[in-house]
């Protein structure tokens, strides 16, 4: 089973109707074997309410640690306690008479002090369920660390002791590090909907202590299942993966990973090496405390939507007047987890596994978080250490001048932070780690992040202000150009122009390079609100179309397959930068222009997409897209090198699990249970004695002289 898609299957229980009426039962029995019961209330339904919309926190491991949460194999059971305030914690940790407790937290109470107290008092805590609010909190919240990817960026003690460990700038001051703690109880997130209403009601009805009295049994309890197979660290779990106890090996963990998406403005021979490049990169992934809620609006989407729009703006310009240098657009996956994507690409470049070598990378322009600009300002971050080298310094200066030139006439101003500051967490750091390459990282913050919800579940459409007037149909929303989209379009235009000059294009062409606000707004809608929209549907093949859901989850996931965001970005990039030659579906899917063509597949990648349906038809008209878009593996080199304690590369793995589910129910008092057992034992012993006595005296009891025929009595 695939843990990344690890949905738990709802096992339909064995039926059984109301009490003991055997005939009623028997019918339900046979009925339920074949059909869902009609008019039968199964006992299970009388006891349990299963929770939908629960999202767990799962266990992740790296070279030295395990983080995340887990339950025992049979699930953790605890008496519900809705935490009303921090003072209320005493009931859970000290005074409450019925431990362990399963704590329901309203999101404002999901803070580090409270979670640490619960963690330390975990013998009295069976688990935690956090009610995710429908609106973002007013204050900031980031469960990430204050210094993201502290140890795998370029700023190590050897590189420059002054900049190591975020000494100069604490990038994420709101980070409370909750995501990187280990908990020995399960933590689930629940939407604020019917389920949580049932839980609250159940708590109020049964568990709430009124005026200091202790609540009476039966109490409302909850059970959370999220047992994780892996423990200790990546080295341990990878070793266990290799142990085969049975014919079908039981895996316990999988490396995190996915695919990077890249494309070039000039077709390059994928099999040949040594192309001269100028690279533009963005980060594609995000995470949050919980497993599959990672909206990453500001930390991921704002950046890559900008680059996608810029790539589209450059399509015509680069085809008409090809600049000297080829621009390489790269979208890195897994950067949140110690730069999985970029470290892999740099590693491949160094070991000549990639179409471009590292030596041929002229410079790098990275687009970071650009969605929340104050005063339309963008900040150009560069690396003070590599700029001590004068040639690098010159190139960086040129790049900055180019960016300033590009921003002219646009509602964007670019500035440098103005003091010697290291680079913010960025993929470019991994390039610098290998070789001093000139490069700039564009961000919307001067020093610390403006993003108050960095790598949290609130970093969503609402936070980026992607909102629509009420009463709009999804189709109208898709086309509606929001203010955020307009702002990002400006940034994209600026980036596209800068890329064009940097690649050696003529400045006279600049005014013709403009990003399309319509495309930007559609992409924002698609990635942040609803992937299943008519525009995305047109641009992707039919097998992917059926998987589209609601907002995208940007958690990188495990390495076996490419995730939805990767595929969507791949198809979007192909459609936005590629061309649509007139090729049959068969040739398209076989990567050739016509039957004799054997060369094109080295230069181009062909994909057959669904297309739109003409106005008076339901049949979509598919077409072929020819582009230079390709995927490259984003799996940490540590796993290829089998170096699971690597300090250089990411070693993150995700544990596997069998089932993730939660349910609430009542628990009976110990006294009632013992009473039942006592009555049972009493009935058994009484009937044993009585039967023995009667059967030993049966001869005379049932031999009423009238019937001597009973010879055997």
């Amino acid at each position: 089973e695939n843990p990344a898609g690890g949905r738990w299957d709802e096992s339909e229980s064995w039926l059984s109707p109301g009490i003991t009426l055997p005939r009623q039962l028997l019918m339900c029995f046979f009925l339920s074997l074949s059909l869902a019961g009609v008019g039968c209330n199964s006992v299970e339904k009388k006891i349990y309410v299963h929770l939908n919309n629960t999202v767990p926190c799962v266990r992740l491991l790296n070279a030295t640690h395990q983080i995340g949460c887990q339950s025992s194999l049979s699930g953790n059971v605890g008496v519900l306690h809705v935490l009303e305030s921090e003072e209320n914690l005493d009931w859970v940790l000290k005074t409450g008479p019925n431990p362990p407790y399963l704590v329901i937290l309203e999101s404002p109470l999901f803070t580090r002090p409270i979670m640490m107290k619960l963690k330390n008092g975990s013998s009295r805590v069976a688990g935690v369920a956090v009610v995710a609010p429908n609106a973002n909190p007013p204050k900031g919240f980031s469960p990430h660390t204050t210094c993201p990817n502290e140890n795998t960026g370029v700023y190590t003690e050897e590189y420059d002791p002054a900049f190591a460990h975020c000494n100069v700038t604490m990038w994420n001051p709101l980070g409370n590090g909750l995501s990187y703690e280990e908990y020995d109880f399960p933590i689930f997130s629940m939407k604020d909907d019917n389920d949580t209403q049932i839980i609250r009601q159940c708590y109020l009805d049964h568990n709430r202590a009124v005026n200091g009295s202790t609540p009476q049994y039966p109490l409302c309890a909850m059970q959370l299942y999220s047992h994780m197979s892996a423990v200790t660290d990546t080295a341990t779990c990878m070793r266990r993966n290799d142990i085969n106890f049975s014919i079908s090996p039981e895996m316990v963990c999988d490396p995190l990973g996915d695919y990077n998406v890249w494309a070039s403005t000039r077709p390059i021979n994928n099999t040949a090496k040594g192309h001269k490049m100028f690279e533009s990169v963005v980060i594609l992934d995000s995470r949050s405390f919980f497993f599959d809620i990672a909206p990453g609006a500001e930390s991921g989407v704002s950046g890559f939507v900008t680059l996608l729009a810029a790539a589209q703006a450059l399509r015509n310009a680069t085809q008409e007047a090809q600049p000297n240098r080829t621009i390489l657009y790269t979208f890195f996956q897994g950067e949140t987890f110690d730069y999985i994507g970029s470290s892999r690409m740099v590693y491949d470049m160094q070991s000549n596994q990639f179409a471009v070598d590292l030596d041929n990378v002229h410079s790098v322009l990275e687009i970071g978080q650009v969605g929340l600009r104050a005063d339309s300002k963008l900040w150009l971050h560069s690396d003070p250490v590599s700029m001590k080298n004068s040639s690098v310094n010159n190139e960086v200066r040129k790049l900055i001048v180019n960016l300033q030139t590009a921003s002219r006439g646009l509602n964007v101003s670019v500035e440098e932070p103005g003091f010697s500051q290291p680079l913010p967490p960025s993929s470019f750091q991994r390039f610098l780690r290998a070789r001093p390459i000139p490069g700039v990282v564009i961000e919307d913050h001067q020093s610390a992040f403006t993003n108050r919800f960095y790598e949290s579940m609130y970093d969503n459409a609402e936070y980026l202000n992607v909102s629509y007037p009420t009463n709009m149909t999804p189709e109208e929303q898709l086309e509606f150009v929001t203010e955020t989209a307009k702002a990002l379009t400006e940034v994209a235009t600026m980036v596209a122009r800068a890329l064009y000059i940097q690649a050696g294009g003529a400045e006279t062409q600049l005014s013709s390079i403009n990003a399309d606000p319509q495309t930007v707004t559609r992409m924002l809608y698609g990635f942040l609100v609803r992937t299943n929209n008519s525009w995305f549907q047109q641009l992707i093949p039919s097998d992917l179309a059926s998987h589209l859901g609601k907002p995208t989850n940007f958690y990188v996931g495990v390495a076996q397959q490419s995730s939805e965001p990767t595929l969507l970005v791949q198809y979007l990039l192909a459609n936005l930068t590629g061309s649509t030659p007139n090729i049959t579906q068969d040739n398209c899917q076989n990567q050739r222009e016509d039957e004799e063509d054997k060369e094109s597949k080295h230069f181009y990648y062909y994909m057959w997409v669904q297309g739109a349906a003409p106005p008076n038809s339901t049949q979509r008209e598919g077409y072929c897209v020819r582009s230079t878009v390709r995927l490259s593996k984003a799996l940490s080199p540590a796993f290829d090198l089998r170096d699971y304690t690597s300090t250089n590369f990411s070693t993150w793995t995700e544990s596997r699990w069998k089932s993730i589910k939660g349910r609430i129910f009542l628990v009976a008092s110990h006294d009632l249970e013992m009473l039942t057992l006592g009555v049972g034992v009493g009935v058994l012993i009484t009937s044993l004695i009585l039967t023995y006595v009667i059967s030993s005296k049966a001869d005379m009891l049932f031999s009423a002289g009238r019937e001597p025929a009973n010879a055997t009595y």
Binding site: W14, L15, Q24, L26, L666, V683, S687, L688, M700, F702
Partner: protein, 258 residues
């Protein structure tokens, strides 16, 4: 912790049946065979009634609550009638089998009396019907939860167990009375058995007012018990003799291992 509930309920529901089996049936292979055959006959009746039920539910209107309720009552009545029909069929079969056994046997008496057969087959019916009525409930009693989140009574498991015990014992008594009535051709007694079975089954429609179903069931159980006692050859005199232990000589004279 809730293993306590599971064992408690199991002992309540099957305690008397297990005791009866251990002391009166297990030692004699022939009785074990007839017990299992009885259980099988009950199962066949169940199969038939569930077939009818299945078909009728398919053709009924599934959205109409009233229709479904009516269907349930119809199913119960049909099932009771089928069970009693099979009891009669089993009686007929046993008569035939007994004749056959008699011809095979070297002794001139039957190896097992029709009264014993009545008791054994009744218990077989009871075992199987008890198992079917309570096994699902027992499976869920292991926990961790208990009934009540939707406002149902906490005593669901306990009352289910007691109901099952009553059903098992009732089947035993019905078996004895039914066979006796057939032997003596007293058809009104057969009718009484069928009617009391119908009443007990329909009483469970009172649930979840457990008192309203359990109390009348136990009254019927008690009455049927007395009837079965007389039908099996018991009398007040014998009971008195037993209780006052004035029978020492009688016992000594007649005692033989059963």
């Amino acid at each position: 912790m809730t293993a306590a509930v599971f064992f408690g309920c199991t002992f309540i529901a099957f305690g008397p049946a297990i005791a009866l089996f251990l002391f009166t049936i297990a030692r004699e292979p022939l009785r074990v065979i007839f017990l299992i055959a009885g259980a099988f006959f009950w199962l066949v009746s169940l199969l038939l009634s569930s077939l009818v039920w299945f078909i009728s539910v398919q053709i009924s209107n599934k959205d109409s609550a009233a229709q479904q309720k009516g269907l349930l009552i119809f199913g119960v009545v049909l099932s009771v009638l089928l069970q009693e029909t099979f009891r009669f069929a089993y009686y007929k079969l046993l008569k035939k089998a007994n004749e056959g056994l008699l011809t095979l046997s070297q002794e001139e008496t039957m190896p097992i009396s029709i009264r014993q057969l009545a008791y054994v087959s009744g218990l077989g019916f009871g075992f199987m019907s008890g198992a079917f009525s309570v096994v699902n409930i027992l499976a869920d009693s292991v926990g961790p939860g208990t009934v009540g989140i939707h406002g149902d009574s906490q005593h669901y498991f306990l009352s289910s167990a007691f109901m099952t015990m009553a059903i098992i014992l009732l089947h035993m008594f019905w078996g004895v009375v039914f066979f006796d009535a057939c032997e003596k051709q007293r058809w009104w007694a057969v009718a009484a058995v069928v009617i009391s079975h119908l009443i007990v089954s329909c009483l469970t429609f009172q649930n979840p007012q457990y008192v309203a179903s359990l109390v009348p069931t136990y009254v019927i159980l008690f009455l049927m018990g007395i009837w079965a006692f007389y039908a099996a050859g018991g009398s007040l005199r014998n009971l008195k003799l037993c209780l006052t232990c004035k029978d020492k000589d009688f016992l000594l004279a007649n005692h033989r291992p059963r």
